[in-house]
Symmetry: C2
Subunit: 367 residues, 2 copies
DNA sequence: TTGTAAGCGTTATCAG
DNA sequence: CTGATAACGCTTACAA
């Protein structure tokens, strides 16, 4: 992809494309030089021009329908006032609110965002970084979730300002804004323990993702403090963050230890997958097994059962990341912390309850 | 917003920004002229160069880490190989799959997308069009849902190629890719009629949106054919497409006519809002009233009750729109139709059933 | 206060 | 086949 712009060769689009007026046109109309027009149009340096001239330029620009060509301006100033956002999968309901937060914060400072989906494909992620770099964006916000990511080296090599959102770079070379995953899992565990659960298991997200890894670590860490908890801690890792994977992981977990009374999952979809599996096995949630999710995605309040989950501050996370990136781009004194960690909340709904006095028979129904 | 690029003035970012190698650098390294490098890098016109030279240029570019500056190339060629996508609310689960379809189709042809959220704010939509135009994107895909939209005039005035997705311009000046909303509503009605329903009502989306309007028209049209249906047709318009609005509209509808046995809604969230209201009123869905949604958003299979809904081809819709736009941009012979209409499907789940023999008492529970 | 001239990096055009 | 030149539209030292 050295030459994305000409991949498909040059296409004719010399159709009725109107001549867009340029500074020169405006200059001619007013009878001044183009550079004067440029100055008059720039609020920052309008000051040194006569008010009358400025007014005339503005008027002429208006009537001609002049719009500045951002391409040319960026080429000259080396600033595009645009930042790229790299997202694994916009279809995953975690990301839209983060994106909104990013956009809101960017807009407040006059920036726009260019988002690229990578479909969880690291090659596409690489291409996205290359493309956005080629377009000379001012910085990048990375929401991809890998724990070790070659994108870090790429950004560093290209001298591209970057910030992680919803994940942390393990090599700590790029600042990040994350939610406290250890704390979130701990909230879920405390809740379950208070209800009387001890045989609590974890269905972890893929360990290559930073969230999957952190939440699992949080689980193991917190469970070490729980008296009467299984040793070693019961953990099954799901292949992906999808509902199917949750379903499958649930079956594996039950095969491993049929006596669990509660499951803390790494993600709402995994939790819903567990519920699917329980329905098939004619088990009841929460009567037989309590389940917690993670993220508090939309509609969890009306699924059956309504899912107890950990809510994270998606919008705020995105907004903070954007502000941090702009600080870096504009060389403002960087905030004290290289990383911002937001606090999660527990949302208690119907999928958690006290365990049965007598453990249920946890046998799968005949197929 | 005449000068988006300098809104906040010029910022210093002359920090350790590496010198990015240019064609000149490569040219110097190889000992040829910059224009030769440009040609060697362009697969289209590489042909006329000696293989040896091309190889040397490629090698030099590689070792220097040359990346073409897309800004400069776009300025010169007047083609950015990027198209803008304007979306009302990325948080609405209808849009991510459409966006995926768009991105997939664009990528297949070497284009990238720049998406802008407008938050259902027409002023922000206008600004978005201006900004994307300023950046000289090659075209626009509009997913905003208004029936009469000043954006149309704006695009036309700016000579910006544009296509609508999921909506149609009433003035028919811009091509569109939509799902057949009349047919979709008809599917829902046929299903309900087959179950034995006659007193079928409609909760319409906002009539300023093209989808809300079309589905309502479809409802009125199809109900006119149903013997024993209420005359005039029972319709309540929701303020927005949100769950709250569905809740509220349900109450209005019941006040209007307490004997309805089925409700066709214009959108899944409206349907879920109806379910919320029914739960509060201790009414049972589908026993007391059957409900259908529209769009088949994720998780509808596990909400209570699982929602019968109309599925539309989101991904395909986006992909078609992107292909159509590229056809226009590249002046290919335009497809025969200015509009593409995709067929929806009915997905039958648990929220629809035969009406009770005796109509339920549809009184709201005491507050 | 305004004009001049140069340059951002690329590519089209015209020579040779 | 390759080189020189100019131009895309804008901004900004530097001059006046």
């Amino acid at each position: 992809m050295r030459n994305g712009l000409r991949n498909k060769g040059l296409r004719r689009y010399d159709s009725p494309m109107k001549h867009r007026p340029t500074v020169k046109d405006v200059a001619k109309a007013v009878g001044v030089h183009a550079s004067t027009v440029s100055r008059a149009l720039n609020p920052e340096k309008r000051g040194r021009l006569s008010d009358d001239l400025v007014a005339r330029v503005l008027a002429a620009a208006e009537t001609l329908g002049y719009r500045t060509n951002a391409l040319a301006a960026s080429l000259r100033t080396r600033r595009s006032m645009a930042v790229g956002v790299i997202i694994p999968d916009i279809t995953n309901p975690v990301f839209p609110p983060i994106l909104m937060g990013i956009e809101d914060a960017l807009r407040a400072q006059g920036y726009i965002s260019v988002v690229a989906n990578t479909g969880n494909d690291s090659e596409r992620a690489r291409i996205a970084v290359e493309q956005l770099t080629a377009r000379r964006l001012d910085g990048l916000i990375l929401a991809t979730a890998l724990r070790r990511d070659p994108l870090v080296d790429l950004c560093l090599a290209r001298g591209m300002p970057a910030v992680f959102v919803n994940r942390r770079d393990e090599t700590r070379r790029i600042p990040s804004v994350v939610s406290d995953d250890e704390a979130g899992v701990q909230l879920a565990i405390e809740h379950l323990v208070a209800l009387g659960h001890r045989r609590i298991a974890h269905i972890a997200g893929p360990s290559i993702t930073s969230t999957g890894f952190a939440r699992r670590r949080g689980f193991e860490f917190a469970m070490a403090e729980v008296d009467g908890a299984p040793r070693p801690p019961l953990v099954v890792e799901a292949r992906t963050y999808g509902r199917d994977s949750g379903h499958q992981a649930f079956l594996e977990l039950l095969a491993l230890n049929p006596k669990v009374t509660a499951i803390v999952t790494s993600n709402d979809l995994l939790a819903l997958g567990c519920c699917d599996a329980m329905r098939e096995a004619r088990l009841s949630c929460p009567a037989d097994i309590s389940i917690t999710g993670y993220n508090d995605m939309p509609l969890l309040d009306i699924v059956t059962p309504p899912l107890t989950t950990v809510r994270i501050q998606h919008h705020e996370m995105g907004a903070e990341a954007a502000r941090m990136l702009i600080d870096i781009i504009e060389n403002r004194e960087r905030r004290a912390a290289m990383d911002i960690v937001l606090k999660p909340d527990l949302v208690v709904r119907g999928s958690t309850a006290a365990p049965r006095a007598t453990p249920a028979k946890l046998q799968l129904a005949e197929p």
